[in-house]
Amino acid sequence: MALLEVRDLRVVFQRKGEVPFTAVDGVDFDVEPGQTVGLVGESGCGKSVTAMSIMGLLPKRGNKVTGSAKFEDTELLTLSDRQMRDRRGRDLAMVFQDPLSSLNPVIPIGLQVTEVLERHRDMSRRKAMVEAADLLDRVGIPDPRRRLDEYPHQLSGGMRQRALIAIALACQPRLLIADEPTTALDVTIQAQILALLAELVRDSGTALIMITHDLGVVAGLCDEVNVLYGGRVVERGGRHDLFQVPRHPYTYGLLQSIPRLDAPKGERLSPIRGSVQDNIPWTSGCAFAPRCPNATDTCVEVTPEMVPDGAGSVRGERLLRCHNPVAQEVPA
């Protein structure tokens, strides 16, 4: 049974006097216990909004969330604010993009770790402090006891993100959502943080949803990958299949636009033409059609369904939402 089952998740932002805006438009995906699942796509395709709606962190007003997000058979979307608060930080936790602004600048790191322990594990402040030092140690923060009394501005960027990871994993959640956890960090630090995350979720058996627009991150970390476009999943598969045999023209385009060191000299990067600005809703036809090199009349008229893709299923199941996939030779 899946740990998290997201079905037809839709988030519509609606402010008074404005046209409703569909940020997430029917997303489906599963996360198995202990599995690392990637959510990839360009900026604005709805990755963060998907995560926030699962966590119940969207603003209380001005949006409508429909569909289903089942966590161990509990429907998260219909939980009361109180029930959701009991689960957040305990059963599911999240790490965000910018570690400096994600920490409270005026209270010590120690309290920011212990408050979640006090809340969910019924610990006294003293016991929680001991545990907090242990947690900081486990995420590779040197001299953790001293760090407990320090403030966020006294830590480096990498250390801050480590502290936030410690906070998120403090209550041993079964699901961790990391929303571009390395985007704000130096390149050298990025690799360290990713390695740390990979190690921690492997050792603790925590499932991880890795949100990123960086396919390199996905390649190194994820078991399964969901490619999002215009608020919908357009392709899903194991990471080996997806990278070796990209079937959706959008996925193919994303892979083509990664700079490669082994590329022949003089070859230019080929970014996907157009931009998310050209986004059209998924109401009639494929939302990617205006930017797609393979688009035909059918693509504009008939909205493609998510169907198993035989040609792409090399090692595991592969799902694809496309009328004219990229022709690929299946490796032997």
Binding site: M55, L57, M84, R85, D86, R87, R88, G89, R90, A93, M94, F96, D98, S101, S102, L103, N104, P105, V106, I107, P108, L111, E115, V116, R119, H120, Y151, H153, Q154, L164, I167, A168
Partner: protein, 340 residues
Amino acid sequence: MLRYTVRRLLQLVIVVGVLSLLLFAWLRSLPGGPVSALLGERATAASRARLTQELGLDQPIFVQYWKFLTRAASGDFGVSTGVQPGDTASEIFLQRFPATLELSFLAIVIAIAVGIPLGYLAARRRGGWLDNLSIVGSLVGVAVPVFFLAFVLKQVLAVDLGWFPTAGRQEGGLDATRVTGFFVLDGVLTQEWDAAWDAIRHLILPAIALSSIPFSVIFRITRAAVLDVLDEDFIRTAESKGLTTPVIRRRHVLRNAMLPVVTTIGLQTGALLAGAVLTEKVFAFPGIGQALALGFERRDYPVLLLLILCAAGVFVLINMLVDLSYALIDPRIRTAGGAR
């Protein structure tokens, strides 16, 4: 912290020193003067000259100022010519300063106690009826002249309904013991509860009138600051930990939102003095505001000089405390200062 405090105290001395010189010169440049105020316009030239000499006003201004400084150094600030002729300026100060401090303190407490919670609630329920109502209320609070508000409060609640006394600090019939000059505090110290309660009743209406502007400003700054903080990423982090709303409010929202509010409170204490002049007049409240108004009318140089200098000193002191508490709230300032 010690070096910082010493530096600020030195600043205080310099500010008061420079201000005393400017004030001294400015007061003497005003049209009229104590002589005309005391003798009237039709006095003979001879009697005018005699009084001018008696008051030492015939001497060059820098000589006057030097005399003022040397006397002030030994605690002698001169004798009142207009407010309470014959009393020394220091006596008047000791009588009246506690009255205004008591009044201003209650006013700022009201402004804080109402302004901060209301600002928080208005921000949380942004666009709701409470938010809109308080915004209108704070606009009215700033726009309505203090003396008009004081007058309406007095007319309706004191004169017409008789719920509060109309004037003064204490009922004449009460034989209260004086210890500090702060009437409420005196009542508590001597356990003369009726005197303390009576003093409080005299304070309530003027304090409400006086609190209207600081309340409005504190409310608006709190509301804006809370709105800013609610949008911060670390609030999202706090929510993602599943913390309860009271903890998030106390520990994460208010602590951060208080930084600009604390600064505002310091600045508002300056506005309090301006408001006190008007409020005390309406309620015949014997504080320094009333003395200042009277002092200006009668050109009472010694009283004006001492009262204004002390008010400025209090203002600088309070803002120094504000800076210190700022450092207490914000560790970024604390550590930056410590490194220096």
